[in-house]
Amino acid sequence: MLVFVILGYALLSIYEFFPLYKENKQKEFYVNLVLGIISFTMAILISLRINIPSPAEAIKIVINYILKAFAM
């Protein structure tokens, strides 16, 4: 699983990042790099079966809290 992830991202980086870097589009490159790092870490975490906390839970708690406050 991990091998696939790394292989896939290596391919992607060749395809995506190098042209951007070559064409000297710095802003695009850096934004893309940041996004790439985020997605790469997420992919690794998922492939290692590490639980990433879901924002849905947090939203649920916040909304329930607000709803209760309004109901009061």
Partner: protein, 370 residues
């Protein structure tokens, strides 16, 4: 870069498919049981003023996308915060739709296939679509809409024999308040989600078309959704809320003679098409938003990574389908308020004020000139 243009018809198709996406899958207003159709109608009625507001925003600033509008109205700093909020919603919605659809495939067809595989397969087409631009998405929408509508009509006609029209009774058996409550949730899902399309309709050709597109699209999608809900009620009756995917279940009863049965696989085609269009638009708008925040020249460079993050995000959103359905039914309508109601109202009010003052300026100038 050639400025992209879409015709009114394409835009309407886009809007209809966007509204149908994933709402035909999980059904609207199922909590209201056999009054779900009333809830659907209420949802449309609630939404019409908002549709007018959305359209008004677009027609005041014709030719500009919502991101340019926001920065124009609120300046670079506060405008960017608003853009982040808007793109977050688009991103989140895209992930929801993706999850929804992939969960459907996972549950109904491929229980043994890991969800991540299905999700990655589907995000590839979304990425491909978002990269090819809104014109291509719009054109593919015109291609898909007849397919979707014809399939639905066919299935609905075929399932007449399995319908029990008494299922609709009693009307308003649980009281109006329940229906109104569910009506609100069917307002926020799917109708008011079309706020996302503010990031798309800058491509419209004429200033007036936004109103036309919004009204036509919402009414058409409403009619399709409400007939579908009625069919579901007629076929499933009170079992409607027991199914995660009611329309899929109700079409599974179709039998034509002894030979053709289990037709529900066919309807999966429309699920794929509508969900694909919806999540592609969400991905497109989210990417445009990110590009606007960082002031990038073109959104295309970040589509792949954003799409991948969206796929992973959709995976970690919920642990299982029950959680997803629960969140959809109980939390989503409140969660969506800031994005669907507050944000557009904010923009609209400000835009109107600005528009008035500009007009006054112009007329004042004109008088001076004379």
């Amino acid at each position: 870069m050639i400025r992209e243009r879409i015709t009114d018809k394409e835009a309407t198709c886009l809007l209809i498919l966007f509204l149908l996406g994933s709402s035909i899958l999980v059904g609207i207003g199922v909590r209201a049981k056999n009054d779900a159709w009333l809830a659907g109608i209420l949802g449309v009625v609630f939404f019409i003023p908002f549709a007018l507001i959305y359209a008004r925003i677009q027609s005041i600033f014709h030719g500009r996308d919502i991101f340019e509008i926001t920065i124009l109205l609120y300046g670079k700093v506060f405008g960017r915060i608003l853009i982040i909020i808007f793109s977050w919603y688009s991103f989140h919605l895209g992930a929801l739709v993706l999850r929804n659809f992939c969960e459907f495939v996972h549950v109904e067809s491929f229980p043994e296939t890991p969800l991540i595989v299905i999700t990655l397969c589907f995000i590839t087409i979304n990425i491909a679509a978002a990269r090819s631009g809104i014109e291509v998405i719009a054109r593919i929408a015109t291609f898909c809409l007849p397919v979707v509508i014809i399939l639905f009509l066919l299935m609905e006609i075929l399932s007449i024999s399995t319908m029990d029209f008494n299922n609709i009774k009693p009307i308003l058996g649980n009281g109006f308040s329940k229906v109104a409550d569910v009506g609100f949730s069917s307002f926020s899902f799917p109708f008011a989600e079309s706020v996302i399309l503010l990031g798309v309709f800058y491509t419209l050709k004429k200033r007036e078309s936004a109103v036309k597109v919004y009204m036509k699209g919402v009414l058409a999608a409403g009619i399709v959704l409400i007939t579908l809900t009625l069919v579901n009620i007629f076929v499933l009756g009170n079992m409607i809320e027991d199914y995660y995917f009611p329309s899929y279940a109700s079409f599974s009863f179709i039998k034509v003679g002894d030979f053709i049965q289990r037709m529900e696989g066919t309807i999966a085609i429309s699920y794929v098409l509508t969900s694909f269009i919806k999540s592609s638009i969400c991905l497109f708008v989210a990417c445009k938003g990110i590009a606007a925040v960082f002031n990038l020249n073109h959104y295309k460079f970040i589509v792949i990574q954003t799409g991948l993050i969206m796929a992973y995000f959709s995976l970690i959103l919920y642990d299982n389908i029950e959680e997803m359905v629960d969140w959809f039914q109980n939390i989503y309508q409140f969660y969506a308020i800031p994005f669907q109601i507050i944000f557009p109202l904010f923009i609209w009010v400000c835009a109107e004020i600005r528009n008035r003052s500009e007009k006054r300026d112009q007329s004042g100038k004109g008088k001076k000139g004379v």
